[in-house]
């Protein structure tokens, strides 16, 4: 059984057979189509790969013309290929379209080589063909995807670049160059340090170093070109491959306009503040002036009045016997006039004080407040028979001292103007309408003509003569001012000789 029993030719033949079998096995196992044909284009061999690529079995293919795989419009291709083969030329990586048995067109990449016999004569061709339909489709998809990405990134409002470890650009969208004012449009391959000198050394480098150390970085970049300030926010996103940062994605946003707007707002704010300070100072000055004025009124107007009053009184006291009755009466009227002017001055001062006084809001027990007011007004009632009806009075939110003044003025008016009624009736209560409390004070007294209602709340405005009902015409003006300062409303309904009702609300809690 040893090879020693065979002669040299046997050994050689055996080796050739072994090689041939091995080759056939390789051909059979290939995924590529491996086909041979003669010089007339008739298929002479057909491997399993060819069956897979073109759909024909070995039996179906052998002996058939190669033309059956070629679309009619490409018929010349086969003629040309055959011509080149005859000339002994190879056709390498020839990409074309072929028809499968099922009629489907496929992209193939083919390499065709001449086949020679032992004497070197060309007897046919071998063809290795690969179905590249999928590959082409994938490439197409990739190209489309890249184009889309490019379109998107170029139109993005942010600058997008990728920087590798050598600090060179590997990608840059158009916006990047645009917002940084770079003239060079093809950044890929260039060094960041060259493109953005001297900014790179001044501001960028330490941040980029951190990003390449694996840190996500965000910072603000400031650049000044020919006196114009530009501001950017910059974000670095490190991309790791095998644990080390190979690439940093840079996103840069131009925030110059935003900054300018912020600066503008800041400037406007400080201007506004300045103006508020000025206005406040003016107001304070005006207030000071008003204070000085009322001080002066308070002090200087009273002194001569006291003299008028005083000396009229002294004359009456010291020289009464020498005076005729008429003279005494006139002196009395001088004194009354002075007295009244004193009251006017006092009321006017009280009224002007109101606008300067701050409103200190707190919860006020209205029932208790009204009770106190009645107690205080007892002397004014002169033992008159007055029927007082007090309804339910809900608590309110306001300045107790100021609200007391409102109730004092309204209730004392009710008592005053119901003089002469038997019995006088003063009714106090509260109704609830549209979610707000409406307090009221009603009397059955003199009332007034509603056509003069608009004069009611004016300073020094009166609807009755002083000899009918004494007063200065300031009480209701004070009521109105206090109610308004609480954000409320005040109004009245009346009829001559049938009494009057005054209503007020204290809504608008936040006003003062």
């Amino acid at each position: 059984m040893s090879s020693n029993h065979h002669d040299g030719n046997d050994v050689q033949r055996e080796r050739a057979e072994t090689a041939s079998i091995r080759l056939a096995a390789i051909i059979e196992s290939s995924d590529d189509a491996i086909i041979s044909k003669d010089l007339n284009g008739i298929i002479t061999s057909w491997n399993r790969g060819a069956e897979k690529v073109f759909g024909y079995s070995e039996q179906e293919a052998i002996g058939k013309p190669m033309q059956m795989l070629i679309a009619p419009e490409r018929a010349n291709e086969e003629v040309e290929i055959l011509a080149r083969i005859r000339r002994g030329e190879r056709v390498d990586h020839f990409e074309t379209v072929r028809i499968r048995k099922d009629g489907k067109l496929i992209d193939v990449s083919a390499t065709i080589s001449p086949l020679k016999d032992g004497s070197g004569k060309i007897i046919g061709a071998s063809k290795i063909a690969r179905d590249i339909t999928e590959r082409n489709r994938a490439e197409e998809a990739l190209r489309a995807s890249e184009a889309r990405l490019r379109t998107v990134t170029d139109n993005a409002r942010v600058g997008l670049v990728m920087v590798n470890r050598e600090r060179r650009y590997t990608f840059a969208n158009a916006t990047y160059a645009e917002i940084l004012g770079l003239t060079s449009s093809n950044l890929v391959g260039q060094r960041v340090g060259d493109v953005l000198a001297p900014l790179y050394e001044e501001q960028i480098r330490p941040h980029l170093d951190r990003a390449f150390a694996g840190e996500r970085v965000a910072y603000e970049l400031h650049r000044s070109t020919s006196g114009v300030n530009h501001y950017y926010t910059v974000k670095y996103e490190p991309t790791k491959v095998n644990g080390s940062v190979s690439l940093v994605v840079v996103v840069i946003t131009d925030i110059t306009e935003q900054k300018q707007a912020e600066e503008k707002i800041h400037q406007l704010n400080s201007e506004l503040e300045e103006r508020v300070i000025q206005r406040t100072a003016q107001l304070e000055a005006a207030n000071k002036e008003l204070e000085a004025f009322s001080y002066s009124v308070s002090h200087d107007l009273r002194a001569p009045l006291r003299a008028v009053n005083g000396f009229a009184g002294i004359v009456l006291e010291d020289f009464s016997p020498q005076l005729p009755e008429e003279g005494k009466r006139y002196l009395e009227r001088i004194r009354n006039g002075g007295q009244r002017m004193g009251e006017l001055i006092d009321d006017l001062l009280a009224f002007s004080h109101l606008s300067r006084q701050s409103v200190n809001r707190q919860t006020v027990d209205t029932t208790k407040l009204v009770q106190n007011v009645f107690d205080e007004l007892k002397p004014q009632r002169d033992d008159r028979r007055i029927e007082i009806k007090v309804g339910e009075l809900p608590a309110c939110h306001g300045d107790p001292a100021l609200l007391k003044q409102v109730w004092v003025n309204l209730i004392s008016n009710a008592i005053k103007y119901s003089r002469g009624r038997e019995p006088a009736i003063v009714e106090i209560g509260c109704t609830h309408e549209n979610g707000e409390n409406i307090y009221f004070v009603r009397d059955n007294g003199a009332g007034f003509d509603m056509q003069y209602a608009n004069k009611l709340f004016g300073v020094f405005q009166r609807l009755h003569r002083n000899d009918e009902f004494e007063g200065t015409g300031v009480g209701l003006a004070i009521v109105q001012r206090i109610v308004h300062r609480h954000g409320g409303r005040v109004w009245a309904k009346a009829k001559v000789n049938e009494g009057a009702t005054f209503y007020f609300t204290l809504e608008g809690e936040n006003k003062s």
């Binding site: 009322s294 001080y295 308070s298 002090h299 200087d300 009273r302 002194a303 001569p304 009045l305 006291r306 003299a307 009053n309 005083g310 000396f311 009229a312 009184g313 002294i314 004194r335 002075g338 007295q339 002017m341 004193g342 006092d346 001062l349």
Partner: protein
Amino acid sequence: MSDTNEVEILIVEDNQDDLDMALRALRKANLTNKIQTVRDGAEALGFIFCEGAFAGRKFENPPKVILLDLKLPKVDGMEVLKRVKGDERTKMIPVVILTSSKEQKDVIDSYNLGVNSYIVKPVNFEQFAAAVQELGMYWLLLNQPPKT
């Protein structure tokens, strides 16, 4: 007033009308004999601190009360009050502010400076006369000053 060392009431008042009425009221109450009147703040300080025209006066003989107006020429009443109450030699002297001003600020400032009483001059003559008489009575006859 011959001897300023015997003064019991110092009236500081620039308004002749008010002064006359006050003096008349005090006279009616038989309180006139030991009154000194001065017409502005500077004069008042001179009397109180025994200076200038009042150099002959002694600190040991203070008035029993000073009736002080607030609005005065030269040195105003508030300043006079401040000086009187801020000086060890004079801070015991009772000071009554007698003024037309009802301003709360004046009242508060006066009390902060140590005023003994704050009276608003009534416009009504009878009330004014009564107030001055009562004041005189109170500080001269009823009030017990510390022994010096």
